[in-house]
């Protein structure tokens, strides 16, 4: 497989294809007849998915640096280039987003019943932005993709959302846009400052990284600008209140995309840019204390607030605040285990929370309500739905043997040495997580079937099974055999840890505690 793919030059064109196909698909959807919009979108999505699979084999796990690199000058007079590449930090975000595409189209099949062309066109445009964010290695390009995402998402929530969709979409837009404007200022300032002192004005990632020492005087402000943009996206407590509204009101596909990819842009941003650019400030004791405190607060707070939500979709939305807190904790602990754990949480959260949003959407399509109190006893009439929901919920609460456990365990294990107290507090979330999700499961699927409207609820259709079965299978597979994932991300995680290691407040072996134990 690898030999064949290499022979057709796969690594040289794949990222361009992944970026272009959704845009071409968007054009096709727009010109296609109305009733063909979703079919066209599905074909495009399946094509994108199949083409992307080669990355799994062609990607060389042993290499710490970028692969699949393409670098062409774009606006040389401004130091802007089309510079893309992939490494262990981004590979699974890209794969997750391509694998998700057909499922998103399938999942929206009947739910989106008006302006279908517009919807699928925006959905495809969104995909280019998402993939672009993770492969862009030029900060100007990165910023373009970053903003490109906002607009389709704004319309998807605002037009096809439910209830309070106007408020939710505006809140989402303003929140994230104000964050990213600060980032734009910071990016320009960095390029300018480095250019002033080196004579080379370039937005290229490696150019900036090589000269980060020149940014030291302004590092605090620049870091804060980046950090705000990313913290809003993650979202880090207390920048999270756009999330329950956006998640809650978005149509299923929007919520799933938000959960699986958009939130990870924030954590990815910290790993790729904010910390490597400004390690002295970002990892200084003061900032570390603040960030870790916010991460742990988010972990516990998200879980507790999730527990008391009357709206099932918001239960899932707040749970993201809790899960993403683990990623931040892991990133700042900066051990190989904790960083690998952070990446695993990013993947696992995508799978299980994405599936949970699909499932909530399916419940909503049947009953046109998301209030937990409107349900009860559903497992009797829809056992397949109940089973799929239960397995996914168990994955989300970190049951060992399913996907969620791997990342959480690694983050906690890896962070314990550096932040024992924070880790102890964070560990208690295993109780709260079980409380919010299983309590919700109980009130929706168990208990008496007292509401007559629920009695005729139909079980999962074949199309819905086609969405859920791959996701559930992936959860079990990742839970029992995460080795291939860990292998492909280890070099990048190790590289990150070694890069930031000199800046940590106290010295310890990057590989784990073993070095301290006499053998």
């Amino acid at each position: 497989m690898t030999a064949f793919l290499t022979s057709i030059g796969y690594e040289h064109w794949i990222l361009q294809v992944l970026l272009a196909v959704p845009l071409v698909g968007m054009a096709l959807v727009i010109i296609s007849p109305k009733d063909w919009a979703r079919v066209t979108a599905l074909v495009v999505a399946l094509f994108e998915f199949v083409v992307s699979l080669g990355i799994w084999w062609v990607f060389d796990p042993a290499k710490p640096g970028l692969q699949f690199v393409t670098r062409v000058d774009w606006l040389p007079q401004f130091g802007v280039s089309y510079y893309v590449g992939l490494d262990g930090l981004s590979i699974f975000m890209v794969l997750l987003s391509t694998c998700l595409m057909p499922l998103l189209v399938w999942g929206s099949w009947d739910q989106i019943d008006f302006k279908q062309r517009g919807f699928y066109a925006l959905l495809l445009a969104l995909k280019t932005g998402m993939i672009g964010v993770f492969v862009a290695m030029d900060l100007f390009l990165f910023y373009c993709f970053w903003e490109l995402l906002l607009i389709p998402m704004f319309f998807i929530i605002g037009i096809w959302g439910s209830g309070n969709r106007r408020y939710a979409s505006e809140k989402f837009f303003i929140y994230t846009f104000s964050g990213s404007l600060l980032m734009l200022v910071a990016i320009v300032a960095m390029v300018w400052t480095i250019g002033q002192q080196t004579g080379t004005y370039s937005f290229a990632y490696d150019h900036i990284l090589a000269h980060v020492d020149l940014l030291r005087p302004q590092a605090p402000w620049l870091f804060i600008a980046f950090a705000l943009a990313f913290a809003v996206k993650v979202p880090v407590f207390p920048f999270h209140t756009w999330l329950p509204d956006a998640h809650g009101e978005a149509p299923t596909a929007g919520s799933v995309d938000l959960a699986v990819i958009l939130l990870k842009m924030g954590t990815y941003g910290f790993l790729r840019f904010a910390i490597p650019f400004f390690p002295t400030f970002a990892l200084s004791p003061g900032v570390t204390t603040v960030v870790v405190a916010l991460a742990v607060t988010g972990i516990i707070y998200g879980a507790l607030v999730s527990m008391v939500q009357p709206d099932l979709k918001r239960v899932v939305a707040y749970s993201s605040v809790s899960h993403l807190g683990f990623v931040i904790l892991g990133i700042w602990a900066a051990t190989v285990q904790s960083v690998q754990g952070a990446i695993m949480v990013m993947i696992a959260h995508g799978l299980s929370t994405g599936a949970l949003f699909f499932l909530v959407g399916m419940l909503y399509e049947r009953r046109h309500t998301r209030l937990i109190s409107d349900f009860g006893g559903i497992a009797r009439v829809a056992p397949l739905l109940a089973t799929a929901f239960s397995i996914t919920a168990l994955a989300a609460i970190g049951l060992p043997g399913l996907n969620g456990f791997i990342g959480e365990f690694l983050v906690l294990l890896g962070s314990f040495g550096r932040f024992p107290v924070a880790t102890l507090i964070a560990t208690t979330v295993v109780v709260f997580a079980a409380a919010y999700l299983l309590w919700a499961v109980q009130r929706v699927f168990y208990n008496p079937l007292s509401n007559p409207e629920n009695e005729k609820m139909r079980d999962l259709s074949k199309r819905e099974l086609a969405v859920l079965i791959p996701m559930v299978a992936a959860m079990i597979w990742m839970g029992l055999y995460p080795y291939p994932l860990l292998r492909r991300t280890e070099a990048a995680a190790r590289h990150y840890v070694e890069m930031v290691h000199p800046y940590l407040s106290h010295d310890r072996s990057p590989a784990g505690p073993v070095a301290e134990v006499p053998r």
Binding site: P238, L304, Q309, R380, L399, V430, P482, L486
Partner: protein, 674 residues
């Protein structure tokens, strides 16, 4: 210290991997029940009526697993390994120096557990064919039950703590699913959730113990940790690690303070209570302490706390058991109490004693639960036939059932004599060994004499409540209505068969570790010696001999006989009214009946405040009030104000725009460059 070279060498042998053919097939014991899960699960989701296939597959896969377990045992007996055989299935979590494989460990201890789990499970699966035959969720039931066995075997066979933890949480999940099996009743679903949450509180401890072990030892597999610990692990670290492990054990094995879920767990089908909540899952904590015995031996303080918790739980639960009317609730508290004995045993350092009692308890408690199941089954059918709504589990509605259920009565008496510690029944030997071990430890630390005393008092109460249970159920005048009496009958052979086998085991189970005074040679002790010797060498324990031993034995027998006599006489010495006409309890009896109000206290102290805090403070005040209201809302007001200001600037005069642009640009550049 002198020990470590020896053990390290043993581990070296283990990594050489001299596993025989049967040991290498150990994965089959897990795979077979999983196959059952897939088949029964798919059947339950697609054709729930396929009873014949389910009845064949459900127990069938278990008998297959039992056969493999027997083969492994025989192989180990033929060539006893000095060190555990580790069979690696595939790499699981490899990150940096962290190397966690999905690996199974076969040694004398896991083979004993393997036999008990697959053996008792097989019997209970067969019993379930009859007991659950009419249930619409038949296939789902067997899918869950098979899944439980698979996880229990992962727990028992796991070669490192994280793999054990898969099983540990997995059995908790199955317990949750089976307690809430009849989920359309809210009480059942509540009970399931309560069990899961209580277990998860314990799991915090388990997780933290793993983090600490990784931090101090740099490994999580038993072979490395247990062999290196004696030389490298400080007493303080060992104490913290074992204390957190103990927290995990109190959750899983229903000890103070996390025992509260187990009585509620009786909401599940009775065979589930027998299998999960008596014979196997709840003993996992005892197994874990025995498995990590070296760590506990390095931390005598934790040993003391373990023994203390065990003794207190044994007594505390026994007192509650005195005043329960629900036959399954009595047995539930009895289980908590007996688990307390096992903790006393392993806490004292008597690992064999703890495991011995675990095994015999699995026999007689499974028998008691299944016997109670037969009684409930009979009454339930009778009530069903007469459309009565009386409680089929309330012993006040029973009495004199010996007439209709003579076999069940006889078999349950065997189990009662076993649990009460009457020789030569199995429980006598195992309980005596625990109490003797506690007494022996008293010579070093007198507080253990107190634990012995508490244990002896609990033994007395055990005999009392068991005699009460038997008397209320089977003897005296019957309180079953005339109409129902005609419908009472013994269950089918598929149910009585397993009961007879368990009764035989309860009668003769003591032989597996028959002490010298009874003509035995402590076979289990010797069998487990390769596993336990590292721990017992660190914390030696000499069981009493000679006169002391004889006095202790005499006391134990006297306590048991006296308790049974008193329990039987006082129960039948006063009239018992059926549940619907019985007056409410008063005085201390009411406190006991209401279980010391512990549930109410936990609810008022932990549950309600937490929900209140989350809802009223965190969500409504912090999220909606502070963040959304003040920060975001303030931002909105601010930006509106700015917008209005801005719109005034849009005066249409281009010159002003250019001026402002220049001022702004210069300012920005200055800020960046300056």
């Amino acid at each position: 210290m002198t020990l470590s070279p020896l053990v390290v060498q043993a581990v070296h042998e283990a990594s050489g991997g001299a596993a025989g053919p049967a040991a290498r097939l150990a994965w089959l014991t897990i795979a077979l029940p999983l196959l059952g899960v897939v088949i029964n699960g798919l059947l339950s989701l697609t054709r729930a009526r396929a009873k014949a296939v389910v009845s064949l597959v459900g127990p069938g896969v278990l008998l297959g697993a039992f056969a493999v377990a027997v083969a492994i045992f025989l192989e180990l007996r033929a060539a006893p390994p000095e060190a555990p055989l580790v069979v690696t299935l595939w790499p699981w979590i490899h990150v940096g120096d962290l190397r966690i494989d999905l690996a199974l460990q076969i040694d004398q201890l896991s083979s004993v557990m393997l036999l008990v789990v697959t053996g008792v499970s097989s019997l209970i699966h067969i019993y379930s064919v009859g007991y659950m035959g009419d249930d619409p969720g038949y296939a789902r039931y067997f899918a869950y039950l098979n899944l439980f066995v698979a996880f229990m075997l992962i727990l028992v066979l796991g070669a490192n703590l994280p793999v054990l933890f898969i099983g540990w949480e997995g059995v908790g999940l199955c317990s949750y699913l089976l307690i809430g099996f009849w989920f359309t009743d809210k009480a059942n679903a509540d009970a399931g959730l309560k069990a899961f949450l209580a277990n998860r509180i314990g799991d915090i401890g388990f997780l933290i113990a793993m983090f600490l072990l990784w931090q101090t030892m740099g490994a999580l597999d038993f072979a490395t940790v247990l062999s290196r610990a004696p030389g490298t692990l400080s007493a303080a670290a060992a104490t913290w690690i074992t204390l957190f492990l103990l927290l995990g054990c109190t959750g899983k094995s229903a000890q103070i303070p996390l025992y509260v879920w187990l009585p509620d767990a009786m909401a599940g089908p009775t065979p589930v209570s027998a299998l999960i909540h008596a014979a196997t899952m709840v003993t996992a904590g005892v197994y874990l302490v025995a498995r990590t015995g070296v760590l506990f031996a390095l931390a005598p303080t934790t040993g003391l706390i373990t023994a203390g918790i065990g003794a207190l739980t044994a007594l505390f639960a026994a007192t509650i058991g005195l005043r329960q009317h629900d036959i399954k609730k009595v047995l539930a508290y009895s289980t908590i109490s007996q688990l307390g004995y096992m903790f006393l045993g392993v806490g004292v350092g008597g690992y064999t004693a703890g495991i011995f009692h675990l095994v015999t308890h699995a026999f007689f408690k499974a028998l008691l639960f299944l016997g109670a199941g037969s009684v409930i089954h009979a009454l339930h059918h009778a009530y069903h036939a007469t459309h009565s709504h009386d409680d089929a589990q309330d012993m006040r509605n029973m009495g004199g059932l010996r007439r209709w259920l003579p076999l069940t009565c006889t078999l349950m008496w065997i189990a009662t004599l076993a649990i009460a510690g009457i020789p030569p029944f199995a429980g006598f030997f195992s309980k005596d060994e625990i109490l003797a071990a506690a007494f022996a430890r008293g010579a070093e630390q007198p507080v253990y004499y107190l634990f012995y005393g508490i244990g002896a008092a609990a033994a007395f109460l055990t005999a009392v409540y068991m005699a009460r249970l038997m008397a209320m159920t089977f003897h005296g005048a019957t309180r079953v209505g005339e109409a129902e009496q005609g419908h009472l009958h013994e269950p089918p052979v598929s149910m009585t068969g397993p009961l007879v086998l368990l009764a035989l085991l309860s009668l003769t189970g003591g032989v597996i570790n028959l002490p010298a005074f009874a003509g035995g040679h402590e076979a289990l002790e010797q069998w487990l010696e390769p596993v336990t010797h590292a721990a017992t060498a660190l914390r030696p324990l000499a069981l009493p001999t000679g006169t002391t031993e004889e006095i202790l034995l005499g006391a134990a027998i006297a306590i048991g006989v006296l308790g049974l006599w008193i329990g039987y006489r006082t129960t039948l010495g006063q009239p018992i009214l059926p549940a619907r006409s019985a007056p409410p309890e008063t005085g201390f009896a009411r406190v006991l009946y209401r279980k010391y109000y512990i549930d109410e206290i936990y609810d008022a102290v932990f549950v309600r405040p937490l929900v209140w805090l989350s809802d009223k403070v965190l969500w409504r005040v912090v999220d909606q009030g502070l963040v959304d209201g003040v920060l975001v809302g303030g931002g909105v007001v601010g930006s509106r104000w700015l917008g209005r200001l801005g719109s005034r600037l849009q005066s249409g005069q281009v010159g002003l725009y250019v001026l402002l642009f220049l001022v702004g640009a210069i300012w920005v550049l200055r800020a960046i460059l300056g």
